[in-house]
């Protein structure tokens, strides 16, 4: 049996998921120049939100997605106003440690509220699939891919064509010049942080019926997101999409074709980071970033 079509289909579906996962971090970094170490915890909260929506209220994760995304936006806004805004001009290390402290706190609030038990949303479509020719297509991953595509396209369209989106890009390029355009930079900051959190919450909702939900699920996803964002170039959404595809395709290919490849696949992300930073420090599509 020829595996290649299956390899491509798996890689493509994974790439969609990775894109959505990393795009929040990418936006947050592009605009605020902050790597939010609590980004993974937003994914975790989104996953728990979807899980509890299904378990307690019987609401399908896809239905609760809009509500959770709005809630994620609000939470991001609050976290920005309450904490992050105060370290915007502080050294990177303070920002890293602040968001790391938040991550630690959110993880353990989740443990206190919901215990450390692993969970997963058991929707009907979570385990359904179909063969298209020789290729197995798992519905849950297809749905995740579709949602991810919609969200990412919506984000790109918003940034490209809406008044606020354009302002957001302007702030990312030049904060002082943006203020001279009459753009309220603080508000754009809060909003981008909110949108970035909302995207991560959406990721959480999407993975709630695919992956295992635990209070600690966020951190590995954060690391992978950082790898993707670095790969594509800090601050470039298009770069992030490319980064996600590169990572997903290389992971899947290694898993299929290298002995014990599924184990080594995780190392690819780090190899890629180091490689790309040495060869092209700005990433594939990165813009100039003063660090």
């Amino acid at each position: 049996m020829d595996l290649l079509p299956q390899v491509f289909s798996d890689a493509l579906l994974l790439a969609g998921l990775y894109t959505l996962m990393a795009v929040g971090l990418s936006l947050g970094f592009g605009v605020l120049r902050i790597i939010n170490f609590a980004q993974g915890e937003m994914i975790m909260l989104g996953a728990y939100g979807a899980f509890w929506g299904l378990t307690l209220l019987g609401v399908d994760p896809i239905i609760s997605l809009p509500v959770l995304v709005v809630a994620g936006f609000a939470l991001g806004w609050l976290i920005f106003r309450g904490f992050v805004a105060k370290v915007l001009d502080a050294p990177h290390i303070n920002q890293i440690l602040l968001t790391f402290g938040l991550a630690l706190a959110i993880q353990h609030i989740a443990i206190i509220l919901w215990s450390g038990n692993a969970r997963s949303a058991t929707t009907a479509y979570a385990t359904e699939s179909a063969f298209v020719g020789d290729v197995l297509v798992v519905y849950s991953r297809l749905i995740a891919f579709a949602i991810a595509t919609i969200m990412v396209v919506a984000l790109i369209a918003w940034l490209r064509w809406s008044e606020t989106g354009r302002a957001t890009r302007a702030v990312a390029e030049n904060r002082a010049a943006a203020a001279l355009m009459g753009i309220d930079v603080d508000r754009i900051y809060a909003m981008s942080f909110g949108v970035s959190c909302a995207l991560s919450v959406a990721t959480g909702v999407v993975v709630s019926f695919i992956l295992t939900i635990t209070p600690f699920m966020g951190f590995p996803m954060l690391i992978k997101s950082i790898a993707i964002v670095i790969l594509g170039g800090l601050g470039s959404i298009a770069g992030t999409v490319i980064g996600a595809f590169v990572l997903a395709f290389s992971e899947t290919f290694v898993s299929y074709y290298v002995p014990d490849g599924a184990g080594w696949a995780e190392g690819i992300a780090f190899l890629l980071i180091i490689g790309i930073l040495i060869l092209r420090p700005r990433g594939i599509l990165g813009q100039t970033v003063e660090t």
């Binding site: 010049a177 355009m181 753009i183």
Partner: protein, 250 residues
């Protein structure tokens, strides 16, 4: 009549060092005023204070009679204060068109967007030709036009231009100053910063000379041109090669 802009005893600086000390100046409606001075005299700092990028440590900024010292930068744009900043600061990854769109971000300006586009493209036909070009890929002169055009898109009542002639060829300088002059005829007040003294005094009604953070001299263009103080202030200046050549060409 109340002046459109009035700075009263402004004191400001960065960190520990003071850049402006007790600077007072004013600008009446429809007036073109230039700020002259050597490098580091505090000209750019003055525009930053007026635009709200820098909060004054002491003193008042009166705009149409109201103290706006605590109004944030983006709200001053809404009030009609627009700055074409030093070093142009166009958004390099945005097209010319998008840069201009951003210029009219404020709510008031958004309503008059089409009108302003016509006006700016009329003033700078070059920008219309290059509307789809990425700003970062344009020449310095084109970027300068874009920066001025972008500031105009905000429908300013008070337009500030920080060194509009810097890095421009002699032909373009004339274009730019013609543009500035024609803008001013529409009743706009203009405050601009120049090192190119001769060019500046050609179009300005009045001027201030800044030296070491103080107002060293003020007067009409004619007065300043003949003032020994101005001569002295600029003789003491050590101009860069570029500045020098521009002064000569102009």
């Amino acid at each position: 009549m109340t002046p459109i802009l009035e700075l009263i005893n402004i004191r400001v600086g960065y960190g520990q060092s003071v850049v402006l000390q007790d600077v007072s100046l004013n600008l009446r409606e429809g007036e073109i005023v230039c700020l002259l001075g050597a490098n580091g005299a505090g000209k750019t700092t003055t525009t930053r204070v007026v635009s709200g990028l820098l909060a004054p440590w002491a003193g008042e900024i009166r705009y149409a009679g109201e103290n706006i010292a605590t109004v944030p930068a983006h709200k001053r744009v809404e009030l009609g204060i627009c700055l074409s900043p030093e070093g142009r600061q166009v958004f390099p990854n945005f097209s010319v068109y998008e840069n201009l769109l951003l210029g009219s971000f404020s709510k008031k300006a958004r309503l008059r967007r089409t009108e302003m586009f016509d006006e700016v493209y009329g003033l700078f036909p070059r920008l219309a030709e290059r509307r789809k070009q990425k700003a970062g890929l344009m020449s310095g002169g084109e970027q300068q036009m874009l920066a001025i055009g972008r500031a105009l898109m905000g429908c300013p009542k008070l337009l500030m231009l920080d060194e509009p002639s810097l890095g421009l060829g002699p032909k373009i300088i004339i274009d730019v100053y013609e543009a500035v002059a024609s803008i001013a005829k529409r009743g706009l007040s203009i405050l601009f910063v120049e090192q190119n003294v001769q060019a500046a005094l050609m179009i300005a009604h009045r001027g201030y000379v800044l030296a070491n953070g103080h107002i060293a001299a003020e007067g009409t263009s004619a007065e300043l041109r003949s003032s020994p103080l101005v001569q002295e202030a600029f003789l003491g200046k050590k101009p860069s090669r570029q500045d020098l050549s521009e002064v000569h060409r102009a």
